[in-house]
């Protein structure tokens, strides 16, 4: 039994430490694989699942390869070293009790009592655990960082170069025969914050104002290497070595276009230079609406909510606000720039807000605020949004008596009443702090009654003769009050035959009536607010009702001009008898020069392409027309190489009479696309000589005579 116990202890220790050792390595492995997969996923956009599987396999492999198992001897060795109490004899515990000599047996008994399974793990293991834990923490922090920190320029380089390679790969290219190797270095302008990149293809996609540097090495020494741009400009490459096999040239990208490499006298095919133009900033004003009216009583503030974006970065942005105050000739403008508080230059996309306090701008009712948002990108391109208008309603205008004095007025008393109600409501609100609650409520209620009376009087204009019919939309409210009274009437209405409709029994036209109805509706709401003792809320509705009434009044006005003017009496006897003999007749003679129409050239070229397809021998003039068409196509290709370059090459092959049938339709398709429309002008048509019908016509005439 004794023997068993002591060996058990050693075995337990061995197993325990083995497991702990494995755990430490596992943590280490997880730490490394987390970091590695984070980098993989972020940079190379690897699939998450695949990365996980790979890392699991890697961890398992690492553990099986590197982790050494702790053996019994190792445990014993450690015990002997770490615990002097065991007197270097723990190895005896491993041996079978019977095989031991007497001394050993004594020693075993002595040691056995001192050893127990609470022996702490060895410091090596402890350190390993600690290190693994620290590494895991670091790995977690780092990989978190990898995901959170936006892509820096190095990863951007990888991305953009991939994109540009895809773009240029659309057009297959062949290198000139003498070129052994070509390196084209594209240096985008600094403000784009894009990295320099190199490619070995001649077709280039580059940012606006990027610098291109060609490094061409030829197979043998050549006299000169040139680049011909858009058939116009030439860049001579300079030799950099004595053999004249390495040549270098530079050119900034200002436009899209195409170029050819000319080595000695051999011209290459056409390569395209596609320029990525710097786009101006895009400004979207999300609020306010293009035309905002701030009603009386609404807060005198507006919130400007803008999103601004640009392809490389915004340098500056601000709101240009202009306030217009006064009216007529006395109108005054004041302009000021307001900057966004949450803006910091350099970003590509912004969502900006600005709260503008109209009162702080010194705006009074009746004034207007015009504003636009301006943004400038770091290429110094400026862009403005549309102009937005904010108008503060001028209630004072409504109160003026001008219209009433000068115009035709059908119903002045009612207007005065509505105005009176407004004035009294405002007075009531002013007095609110000084009067007691009861009298405030009473006054408000009284005003509601006044408003009701006014509404009823207007209702008469619509042919409404009792309270029950006023304001179509509010019948339900009314219905509750008057349910009992109207019930009998309703039943009567169902069975009785009425000759006139109240709606039609007035002098007003449909439009006026509609507006009047809207006025009544506003009045009703105002009345509701007044009666529920909320005069402040009633005020906007009162104003609106007044404004609608004002409009009504303006509509019914008519202008009649003065009619009495005096003219010199006519003398009919001398009319149209002037002596015109000295008057010379205007004669205009003019010749219009017929310019060579580019469309006509293209159209003729299409016809000639058909002859080419038919393998007919072309005349000199036909070839000239094709050449002119080729020049037009070349100009187009300089602007949009991606769309026109292939056709230009095809047309040039046709002109060199080394073409495939495909080239004819390729060139034809593009020429056809370049012709927008064919001019439709009258032309003489020809007819076959037809003596028979002429004779028929003559005989017909003779018979008629």
């Amino acid at each position: 039994m004794d023997e068993l116990r002591s060996t058990n202890i050693i075995e337990t220790l061995q197993k325990k430490w083995n497991r702990q050792n494995l755990d430490a390595y596992l943590i280490l492995g997880i730490a490394i694989s987390i970091f590695a997969s984070a980098i993989f996923i972020r940079l190379f956009h690897a699939n998450f699942l695949i990365v996980t599987k790979i890392s699991i396999v890697a961890i398992a492999g690492m553990i099986s390869l590197f982790v050494k198992k702790i053996k019994e001897n190792d445990v014993v060795k450690f015990l002997n070293e770490a615990f002097p109490d065991l007197e270097e004899s723990s190895h005896l515990l491993l041996k079978s009790y019977a095989s031991l000599n007497q001394l050993e047996k004594l020693q075993v008994i002595k040691v056995e009592n001192r050893i127990d399974d609470r022996i702490s793990r060895p410091p090596v293991l402890r350190r390993r655990f600690k290190n693994a834990g620290i590494l895991l923490a670091i790995a977690l922090i780092l990989s978190f960082g990898v995901f959170v920190i936006p892509l820096n320029s190095s990863s951007k380089f990888l991305k953009t170069s991939a994109a540009s390679v895809f773009a240029t790969q659309n057009k297959p290219e062949t290198k000139p025969a003498q070129v052994e190797d070509a390196q084209i270095r594209i240096t985008p302008p600094a403000y784009t914050r894009k990295a320099v990149r190199e490619q070995d293809r001649f077709n280039v996609v580059a940012e606006q104002d990027a610098e291109l540097k060609w490094a061409i090495s030829t197979t043998s020494a050549v006299k000169e290497v040139q680049l011909l741009f858009n058939d116009e400009s030439i860049v001579r490459l300079q030799p950099v070595d004595r053999d004249k096999t390495k040549w270098i040239g530079r050119k900034p990208v200002r436009t899209s276009g195409f170029y050819q490499v000319k080595i000695d006298n051999n011209l290459s095919e056409l390569y395209q230079v596609e320029m990525i133009r710097d786009q101006p900033p895009v400004i979207v004003v999300q609020s306010p609406k293009p035309n905002t009216i701030i009603q009386y009583g609404q807060p005198k503030k507006i919130l400007i909510n803008v999103s601004i974006s640009d392809d490389y970065g915004i340098e500056n942005t601000f709101i240009n606000a202009t306030t217009a105050s006064g009216s007529g000739e006395a109108v005054k403008f004041k302009e000021q720039q307001i900057s966004f508080s949450n803006f910091s230059a350099g970003g590509q996309k912004y969502q900006l807000q600005k709260q503008i306090d109209l009162a702080a701008l010194g705006m009074q009712p009746g004034d207007e605020l015009y504003f636009y948002v301006n943004a400038r990108d770091n290429y110094h391109q400026e862009k403005r949004s549309d102009v937005y208008i904010v108008r503060m309603e001028d209630t004072a205008q409504l109160m003026s008596m001008d219209g009433l004095v000068s115009g035709v007025d059908l119903k002045p008393e009612f207007f005065r009443s509505q105005r009176q109600i407004i004035i009294e409501t405002e007075q009531l609100l002013k007095d609110r702090d000084t009067i007691c609650v009861e009298s405030f409520n009473k006054k408000s209620s009284d005003l509601g009654v006044d408003q009701k009376l006014l509404r009823l009087r207007y209702g008469r204009f619509l042919g409404e003769e009792n309270e029950t019919e006023i304001g179509g939309g509010h019948d339900d409210h009314k219905g509750e009050q008057n349910a009992v009274e109207t019930k009998g009437e309703d039943i009567l209405n169902q069975y009785s035959h009425k000759h006139d409709n109240a709606e039609d029994a007035t002098f007003f036209d449909a439009k006026t009536k509609k507006q009047l109805l809207a006025t009544l509706s506003e009045m009703w709401t105002a009345e509701l607010q007044l009666r529920t003792l909320k005069p402040k809320e009633a005020l906007p509705f009162e104003y609106k009702a007044l404004r609608l009434l004002k409009d009504l009044q303006q509509q019914t006005r008519a202008y009649v001009g003065k009619t009495s003017t005096k003219t010199t009496p006519l003398k009919p006897e001398i009319r149209l008898t002037g002596d015109l003999s000295k008057v010379t007749e205007p004669v205009i003679q003019q010749g219009f020069q017929q310019k060579a129409d580019p469309v006509t050239t293209l159209r003729k070229a299409l016809g000639i392409l058909e002859m080419v397809r038919n393998r007919e021998v072309l005349q000199r003039s036909s070839v000239e027309i094709l050449e002119q068409a080729s020049m037009q196509l070349s100009a187009r290709a300089a602007q949009e190489p991606a769309a026109y370059l292939a056709s230009l090459e095809a047309l040039r092959r046709i002109l060199k009479s080394s073409f495939k049938p495909r080239d004819v339709s390729l060139a034809g398709t593009t020429l056809q696309r370049m012709i927008r429309s064919v001019i439709n002008i009258p032309q003489r048509s020809k007819t076959a000589p037809d003596k028979l019908s002429q004779r028929y016509f003559m005989n017909l005439n003779r018979r008629n005579d």
Partner: protein, 599 residues
């Protein structure tokens, strides 16, 4: 023949009566009955000798004298069916050497129909399978009876028509019909230099008419393609050669009673394109503003026929025509009637009485309207605002050019003598040009001017028939010429000798066999080339097949032959009875009477 029969019978009856009377009168009454009988039979025998006596019998061996003739498009099923119903020994022939699927039937090729006729006299009936034959081949089979086992037409364009030659800016219309027996929709696409210009869909199971339209962009010649697509499969791909010509510019005289924007715009537009335009605008009493564009000045004080000779078209407003003196107006009238000058009159009020007004009665229908006008070919114009709506009532003998949606005519045309008159009530067409609808403005005036201007008589005109000439097939080359010389045609390198039409001395015809598909260049008498297009044999296949089918059916109809699709019917044949029998009968009867006399 019938008359002969009656004569013979009449004579024989007379003879019989005479002979019977003689018998009755005869003293010797012995064997009277026998003699009477012998007389009757002798006369009958005599009559039968003279009359063609036939009998009808069902021919049993007819099948041995029939043959099967396979033509393009035959259905193997129906041939197999026919051969198995009849015995399989019927000889099978074919007219086309490269007929597909004909090898299975051991069909022997007939190179020449006349030679064939010599060799196979025993055959008298052909069972024709497929789409049939062309007219020429059918004529060779005149001596045989034909039984036509018609084949069904497969998917394809069965007819087509387009103008091979059009003028710049004109719309090209390609019209035809497509036979689509399949169950899927077919799309017909018009393409030129790989660009799709127009397309239509043909519903499944129909023979539908279609129209494709485009304004060709090329000048000179080009071949467009008409492609029939079922899904992604190309069913048919045919070439449509079109030649676009630039016509000569017109010379236009404008007479205006007052300065006018419409005239100004038209004048400028035409002059910018190199047209000769002369405008005379009255600015005061007998005072005119004169504009000479692209032409030296000419006296314009009076309108004379020598002045009008210089112009193709005169555009005048009604007031300007009214203010002319009577001889001036007469000279315009005779110029239109006799020298086919075109006259465009712009009317702005109802009251008018001139030589042209009877054809164009006007009616006002309201003020200030927005009109949606369209051409007679249903091309729509943008809406135009008209101050006073003045419409033209259509009269017999007029052809409306521009009308609105309610069919009110605003531009009408009529013949006047050898010339044409167009009357328009639209006075502000320039508003189209101002509004940026330059194309519509051009279209409007091009339509009017093209309509009114007389066609120039060319010195010669060459035409080719058929419309779709094919290689190694006969093509008729025809020229109309005024020249007195004997013309000679030339196509490519080959000369075409022309024959004068005996009835129409200005028309000459010749025959040409194109050997190469594609554009053919003919040389005109003036030395200028003229172009036409020869197709390969396989082009427009369905059209050829449909033509053959129709030709065969027509031939059968004309020759009372049998057109059928199904069973063989028993043939009844009239056969003449051998005359020897009647001769013997006559001799026997006559001999009996002679012998009886002796006894």
């Amino acid at each position: 023949m019938i008359e002969w029969n009656y004569i013979v019978i009449g004579l024989c009856v007379l003879l019989l009566i005479f002979l019977i009377w003689k018998e009755v009168k005869r003293a010797n009454k012995a064997r009277f009955g026998w003699r009477l009988l012998a007389t009757i039979f002798a006369v009958i025998g005599l009559a039968c000798l003279a009359l063609p006596i036939t009998y009808r019998h069902a021919e049993n061996d007819a099948i041995n004298r029939e043959a099967v003739l396979l033509t393009e498009g035959f259905s193997p099923d129906s041939v197999n069916n026919f051969l198995s119903v009849n015995n399989n020994n019927i000889p099978v022939f074919r007219m086309n050497k490269n007929l597909k699927r004909a090898g299975k039937y051991n069909a022997s090729y007939i190179p020449d129909i006349d030679l064939f006729a010599q060799r196979h006299k025993d055959l008298h009936t052909f069972h024709v399978f497929g789409y049939g034959m062309e007219q020429d081949d059918l004529e060779g089979l005149k001596n045989w009876s034909l039984i036509f086992h018609q084949a069904k037409l497969s998917s394809g364009i069965t007819s087509i028509k387009w103008s091979h030659k059009i003028r710049t800016g004109e719309k090209l219309f390609i019209q035809g019909s497509f036979n689509n027996p399949s169950s899927s929709k077919v799309k017909i696409v018009l393409k030129s230099f790989n660009a799709t210009l127009d397309s239509v869909n043909v519903l499944s199971g129909t023979n539908q008419k279609f129209q494709l339209a485009t304004i060709p962009k090329h000048a000179g010649r080009a071949v467009s393609l008409v492609i029939a697509l079922a899904g992604k499969d190309t069913i048919e791909k045919e070439m449509v050669p079109v030649e676009v010509e630039q016509g000569d510019p017109l010379k236009v005289l404008i007479l205006a009673s007052s300065p006018d924007f419409d005239n100004k715009f038209l004048k400028d537009r035409l002059a910018q394109n190199g047209y000769v335009v002369v405008e005379r605008t009255s600015v005061s009493k007998n005072k005119f503003e004169k504009n000479f564009l692209n032409t030296p000045t000419v006296p314009l004080g009076r309108i004379t026929s020598s002045l009008l000779d210089k112009f193709d078209v005169t555009i005048a407003d009604a007031a300007a025509l009214n203010s002319l003196s009577t001889p001036e107006l007469t000279s315009i009238q005779t110029q239109v009637a006799q020298k086919s000058m075109g006259l465009i009159v712009k009317a702005d009020s109802v009251s008018n009485s001139s030589f042209y007004s009877s054809s164009f009665p006007l009616a006002t229908s309201g003020n200030r309207q927005l009109l949606g006008l369209s051409l007679s070919d249903s091309t729509n114009f943008p809406a135009i605002n008209v101050e006073s709506v003045l419409s033209i009532r259509s009269m017999p003998g007029t052809q409306p050019l521009v009308a609105d949606k309610q069919n009110r005519v605003f531009v009408n045309s009529s013949l006047f003598g050898s010339g044409k008159i167009v009357l328009t009530t639209l006075a502000n067409t320039f508003s189209w040009a101002l509004a940026g609808y330059q194309n519509d403005y051009d279209k409007f005036w091009t339509e009017l001017l093209n309509k009114v201007s007389a066609k120039q008589v060319a010195d010669e005109a060459w035409t080719i028939s058929p419309a779709l000439p094919k290689i190694n097939k006969r093509v008729q080359v025809q020229v109309h010429t005024n020249s007195a010389k004997v013309p000679q045609g030339q196509v490519g390198e080959a000369a075409v000798y022309l024959k004068q039409n005996p009835d129409l001395p200005y028309q000459w015809d010749g025959i040409f066999y194109p050997t190469k598909a594609g554009w053919q260049v003919g040389i005109q008498l003036s030395g200028k080339p003229f172009y036409w297009y020869a197709y390969d044999k396989s082009d427009w296949k369905m059209i050829g097949e449909k033509e053959r089918l129709e030709a065969t059916v027509r031939y059968l109809f004309d020759h009372n032959n049998i057109l059928r699709k199904g069973e063989k019917e028993a043939r009844m044949i009239d056969r003449e009875i051998n005359k020897l029998i009647f001769l013997l009968l006559f001799l026997f009867c006559a001999g009996y009477m002679w012998f009886e006399n002796k006894v």
